[in-house]
C-alpha cells in the first residue's frame, strides 16, 4: 500500500445556518493527483481553507504526513509542506513578480530580524540561490520576462500562474490548487496540464479543485465529488464521472 500524505476524516464546518462541510473525508496518497469537483457552493474551497488551517473546523481530524495538524496555525501547516493557493489569485500587488516568488522560499535565514544586519554575506548568498530558483520556476510558467513588473499589472491568467509558481517556491509535499485553470486560455491550459504532470513525476502530491471536467479527467488519479458539503462519490475518475448521482448533482444545480 502506498504512502498516505493526507487524510481528512469526517470534517464538519458550518457558517451560521448552512453546513458547508458535512462529515467530509478525503485521502491523498503520495505522488497522486486528486481531483475535487462539485457544483458551486459545494464546499470545495472551504475544505481547502480547513485543511490548510485558514479556518477552524467544527469537528473532524486532519492528518498530514502522519501527524495531526488540526489546530496548528496556518503558517505552521505551510511550513510542514502543505501549501495552498487561492481561488481568486492573491498577488502581492505592490511587489514585483520576482519578489512575490522569492517570498515563497522556505528556511530563509534573512527572514530573522537581526540576521540581515550581522550576516550580510550569508543572506546575499542565499538570496542569489533563491533568485535562481525563482527564475527557473518562472521560466517553467512562461513568466520570466515579467519578473520585474508589479504583480498588480499582470493579467488574470498570469496571476493564476504566479499563484501556483509562488506556491512551488515553498517546495511543498502536498499542493492544494483551487481552480488553477480558471481564466487561463485553452492553449495555455494545455501547457499547464503538461507542467502539472511534470510536477507529479517529481513526486509532488496535488489536490486540484476544478470545474472544467476534461482537465480534471486528464490529470487525476482519484476523483472526489462534493455536493452540499458531503462526498457524493469518490474513486477512479472514469468510474466516478459515469455515476448517475454525480450527473444529477450537477443537473440539480442547473435547475
Amino acid at each position: 500500500m502506498a504512502n498516505e500524505v493526507l487524510s481528512a476524516i469526517s470534517v464538519c464546518k458550518g457558517f451560521g445556518g448552512i453546513l458547508a462541510l458535512d462529515h467530509c473525508s478525503i485521502r491523498v496518497e503520495e505522488g497522486d493527483i486528486v481531483g475535487l469537483i462539485g457544483p458551486n457552493g459545494a464546499g470545495k474551497s472551504t475544505l481547502f481553507d480547513v485543511i490548510s488551517g485558514f479556518l477552524p473546523p467544527d469537528a473532524g481530524s486532519i492528518v498530514f504526513s502522519g501527524r495531526e495538524i488540526l489546530g496548528l496555525p496556518a503558517y505552521k501547516i505551510a511550513r510542514l509542506g502543505l501549501v495552498r493557493t487561492f481561488q481568486i489569485p492573491r498577488s502581492l500587488m505592490r511587489m514585483t513578480v520576482l519578489e512575490n516568488m522569492m517570498l515563497g522560499a522556505q528556511g530563509q535565514a534573512g527572514e530573522r530580524l537581526y540576521i540581515p544586519l550581522i550576516r550580510r554575506h550569508k543572506v546575499m548568498a542565499q538570496e542569489k540561490e533563491i533568485r535562481e530558483k525563482a527564475e527557473e520556476i518562472l521560466e517553467f510558467f512562461d513568466l520570466r520576462r515579467m519578473r520585474d513588473e508589479y504583480a498588480g499589472s499582470l493579467s488574470g491568467g498570469q496571476k493564476k500562474m504566479l499563484e501556483m509558481a509562488r506556491a512551488l517556491m515553498a517546495d511543498p509535499r502536498l499542493l492544494l490548487l483551487d481552480e488553477p485553470f480558471a481564466g487561463v486560455n485553452p492553449a495555455l491550459a494545455d501547457r499547464l496540464i503538461e507542467r502539472i504532470r511534470i510536477l507529479k513525476e517529481k513526486g509532488l502530491s496535488i489536490i486540484i479543485i476544478e470545474h472544467a471536467i476534461p482537465y480534471v479527467l486528464a490529470l487525476s488519479d482519484e476523483l472526489y465529488v462534493l455536493n452540499k458539503g458531503r462526498v457524493l462519490a469518490s474513486g477512479r475518475p472514469d468510474a466516478v464521472i459515469s455515476d448517475r448521482r454525480v450527473f444529477e448533482a450537477y443537473l440539480g444545480e442547473g435547475a
Binding site: S52, F54, P73, A74, Y75, K76, A78, R79, V83, R84, T85, F86, R90, S91, L92, M93, R94, M95, E99, M102, L103, G104, Q106, Q108, A109, G110, E111, R112, L113, I115, P116, L117, R120, V123, Q126, E127, Y150, G152, S153, R166, A167, M169, A170
Partner: protein, 298 residues
C-alpha cells in the same frame, strides 16, 4: 546662516527619525499606529529621568528604546489578531493615557512644570556655545544610521515578508510566514526608533514637559510618511523637510499678519488637517510615489 542650517538639521532631523519609525510600521507593514508620539515621550522621559539619577546617557537612551519597544509590542499583541482599526484606537488611547500619567505623576515627572537641567551628551567637552552645532551633527549621524538600518532591513528577506503582510496577509501566512510575529516586531522596532528620536528631542530642547507630546505630533509623522510616499524611507525624510519648511514659512508669515497667537496656530492646525484630508483624497501615493506603489488606496 549656520544657525539656520543647524536648526533645520535639529528639528527636521529629529522628526525624520521619528517618522522613519512610523514608516516601518505603516509603510512597510501596513500597521495603523495612531499613538506614535507615546513612544517618543517614553524615550524622552526615560532617558531624562534615568540620567538625572546618575545613569550614564547611553544606557539611559537604550533603556528608553527597550521600554518603548516592549510597550509597542504589548499593544500589538493585544490587538493585532483583531481587525486593524483596533490597533489605531488602542495606540491613540495609549498616547493620551501616557500623557495624563506624565502630567499627574508629579512626584516623578514634576507634571506640567516639566523637567530641565538634565545631562546632555558630551556637554562638558563641547561647551555651550557650539553645542547645537555638535548636536545637529549627532542627530544627522543618528538619522543616517537609522536610515541605513531601515534600508538594509527593507531590502532584506525580513522586509520582504513585511511588505507581503502589508499587501495581503493571507498570502504571507499561506507561505509559512508568522504574520503576527512580524507585525509585533515592526511595532517594537518602530517604537524603539521613536524613543530614540525622543531622547534626541530632550537633548535639543533642554526642557521637556508632557505637552510636548500631544497627539498631533503623531499626525505630523503621518503627514511626513504619506507625503513622501508610504514605504519609502527617503521620501519620509523629504516629508520631514517639507513639513519643517511649512512650519517655518507659516511662522515667518505670522510676523507680517496681525493674528492673535491662538488664531494663527489654530489656522496652521486647520491647514494641517486639510493637508491630511487632501492627501488622502487626491494623492494617497505621496508626492513622489507612483500609482502602482500606492500602499493605501487599493
Amino acid at each position: 546662516m549656520l544657525d539656520y542650517l543647524v536648526s533645520i538639521a535639529l528639528t527636521a532631523g529629529i522628526y525624520a527619525i521619528f517618522a522613519l519609525g512610523l514608516n516601518l510600521q505603516w509603510g512597510y507593514a501596513g500597521l495603523l499606529n495612531f499613538g506614535h508620539v507615546a513612544f517618543m515621550a517614553m524615550g524622552a522621559y526615560v532617558t531624562v529621568l534615568l540620567s538625572m539619577n546618575g545613569i550614564p546617557l547611553l544606557p539611559a537612551v537604550l533603556a528608553g528604546m527597550i521600554l518603548a519597544g516592549a510597550a509597542g509590542a504589548f499593544l500589538g499583541m493585544a490587538t493585532l489578531r483583531l481587525r486593524e482599526d483596533y490597533l489605531a484606537i488602542v495606540t491613540i488611547g495609549f498616547s493620551e493615557i501616557l500623557r495624563f500619567i506624565l502630567l499627574n505623576w508629579s512626584s516623578l515627572t514634576r507634571g506640567s512644570f516639566g523637567l530641565f537641567g538634565y545631562p546632555r551628551p558630551f556637554q562638558d567637552l563641547v561647551g555651550i556655545r557650539d553645542y547645537n552645532l555638535f548636536l545637529a551633527g549627532l542627530v544627522l549621524a543618528v538619522l543616517l544610521l537609522v536610515y541605513m538600518l531601515l534600508e538594509t532591513l527593507a531590502r532584506s528577506p525580513w522586509g520582504r515578508v513585511l511588505k507581503s503582510i502589508r499587501d495581503d496577509e493571507a498570502v504571507a501566512i499561506s507561505l509559512g510566514k508568522n504574520a503576527f510575529s512580524y507585525k509585533v516586531q515592526a511595532l517594537a522596532l518602530g517604537s524603539a526608533i521613536a524613543a530614540l528620536s525622543g531622547s534626541l528631542l530632550a537633548f535639543y530642547l533642554q526642557y521637556i514637559n508632557p505637552n510636548n507630546f500631544q497627539p498631533i505630533e503623531t499626525f505630523y509623522a503621518w503627514i511626513m510618511v504619506i507625503m513622501g510616499g508610504s514605504g519609502n524611507n527617503r521620501g519620509t525624510i523629504l516629508g520631514a523637510l517639507i513639513l519643517w519648511g511649512f512650519f517655518s514659512t507659516t511662522r515667518f508669515m505670522e510676523g507680517y499678519l496681525s493674528f492673535s497667537p491662538t488664531a494663527s496656530s489654530g489656522a496652521r492646525m486647520v491647514l494641517i488637517g486639510l493637508i491630511l484630508i487632501g492627501m488622502m483624497m487626491f494623492r494617497p501615493q505621496g508626492l513622489l510615489g507612483r500609482k502602482e506603489e500606492l500602499s493605501i488606496g487599493k
